[in-house]
Amino acid sequence: MRQSAGPTLERTDEADTYYLNMGPQHPSMHGVLRLLLKLRGEEIVTCEPVIGYAHRAHEKMAENRNYIMFIPNTSRVDYLSGMIYNIAFCQAIEKLCSIEVPERAEVIRIIACELNRIQSHLLWFGTFLLDLGGITPFLYCFDDREEILDILDRVTGSRLTYAYGRFGGVTMDVDQDFLVRTLAFVKRIRSRFPMYEKLVGENVIFRERCEGVGVITPEVARQYGVSGPTLRASGIGYDVRRAEPYGGYDRFDFEIPTRTAGDCMARFEVRMAEMEQSCRIIEQAVAAMPEGPIGPKKLVQRLKPPEGMFYFAVESARGHFGQYILSDGSNTPLKLKMRTPSFSNLSAMETVLEGTMVADTIAIVGSIDIVMPEIDR
């Protein structure tokens, strides 16, 4: 620790303070985040998140391979909502090159993405409780999450890093069994929500640890570009699925849950409510599943994107995921910038964490649901 810490860690310039290097190897850091904390006792004077430990140069890779070769990369950017990222990239290229997507493929994509979103939220729920010292809910969440992984595994062949999307559709069609299991899962997870609420949401210690902790005001959220459930917990009902509907989301009836408190408890409640909304979308999608092809009529042989700047945004489990593409007309992008939500969400932490306690740091960083590979790309 001492050697790698660098000169900045040796001594602070202020009396009564010291540096604590939290991470990148720390039991409760999500992935490889390092927080450089300047502490007075247990109170945080300043906090500097240090990132980049999981940088894999996805944007550089995108410039060096054609669009179709980049598909498997996308789900590795954010391994927890890999399906959403994977589909989002395909949707971006479809929009760029004006490729039609059959309706059945769109509905399948929505079911897969919403399952992925529930899966991501479940994992967040478990690890958040783990951060607060409650170990048991983690196992219960993984029990539920496993079911989603099994369902998606059956159609996609992967459990985490999917490459399910293709330009103009998906790789494999779903069968009746998939739909039955999906509905069974929705029923199962609905029966679990009251238990989670009772076991965790109404727990006195949990509420004590979460209420009023780590408040993000709407103004801070705007200045830092915070998005996703973290933003909606601050009272702004911005959801890309509603603000700029994509991939057929405008056909479904769902609500955007918001809370106004902006604290950890609000973020918890928003995510729990979002899982319920995802269930609603899945139910409607299964009921409305049309027959038909799952890919384009004519196989896309060679992409011919127009020249120029292009932007496409989706709502990932963590917020606004935008892809900025600069095309020169060839089938390789000149530039692919991925605007990932956690990058902005985490950058707001330097303001939010000031003046909190060490134990709160863990709760707050846990509550914004960061995935380091997505931040570092």
Binding site: I51, G52, H55, E59, K95, R222, L231, G308, Y311, S347
Partner: protein
């Protein structure tokens, strides 16, 4: 969504060029370009209009434009979606390309500008903490420059 008329941002005199864009095709409502001196004022105008800074990125356009191009996108939560993109061309010298930081207007710019410095070598004057963010602190290259090399070169 008719973007131009609904814009509550007064950008008069701040831009070099300004045009409507087809949102359904490009994902942008308006496309602007500004000079490097005015980008701070542009950011302030957007901030006053309660817009948020979605992202900043950079393009290595030294081959075709003889410039490094910064790309800012602004959007808003309230009301209709209204995504603007502002491009700023800098001199094509690396190192040497410099732009004023808008960190004072949008704190979100802090990390985006650091990332651009890290990946492209563009420096931002007035940035409080301009150091590498994703690459190692002791790296001597800027990875996303087009002449940095293709990945195959590095592997062989």
């Amino acid at each position: 969504m008719s973007p131009a008329s609904a814009t509550p941002v007064s950008l008069d005199g701040l831009l070099l060029e300004s045009a409507d864009a087809d949102f359904a095709v490009t994902g942008f409502h308006r496309v602007h370009s500004a000079s490097v001196e005015r980008i701070g004022d542009v950011a302030r105008a957007y901030d006053e209009g309660a817009y948020l800074l979605e992202m900043i990125t950079c393009e290595d356009r030294r081959e075709d434009l003889k410039a490094m191009r910064l790309v800012y996108t602004f959007n808003r939560f309230a009301g209709d979606l209204d995504r603007h993109v502002v491009t700023v061309d800098l001199s094509g010298e690396i190192p040497g390309a410099e732009a004023p930081s808008i960190n004072g207007v949008y704190p979100a710019a802090n990390w985006f500008e650091r990332e651009i410095y890290d990946m492209y070598g563009v420096t931002f004057s007035g940035h409080p903490n301009l150091k590498r963010i994703l690459l190692p602190d002791d790296a001597d290259f800027h990875a996303l420059l087009r002449d940095f090399g293709r990945m195959e070169d590095a592997e062989s």
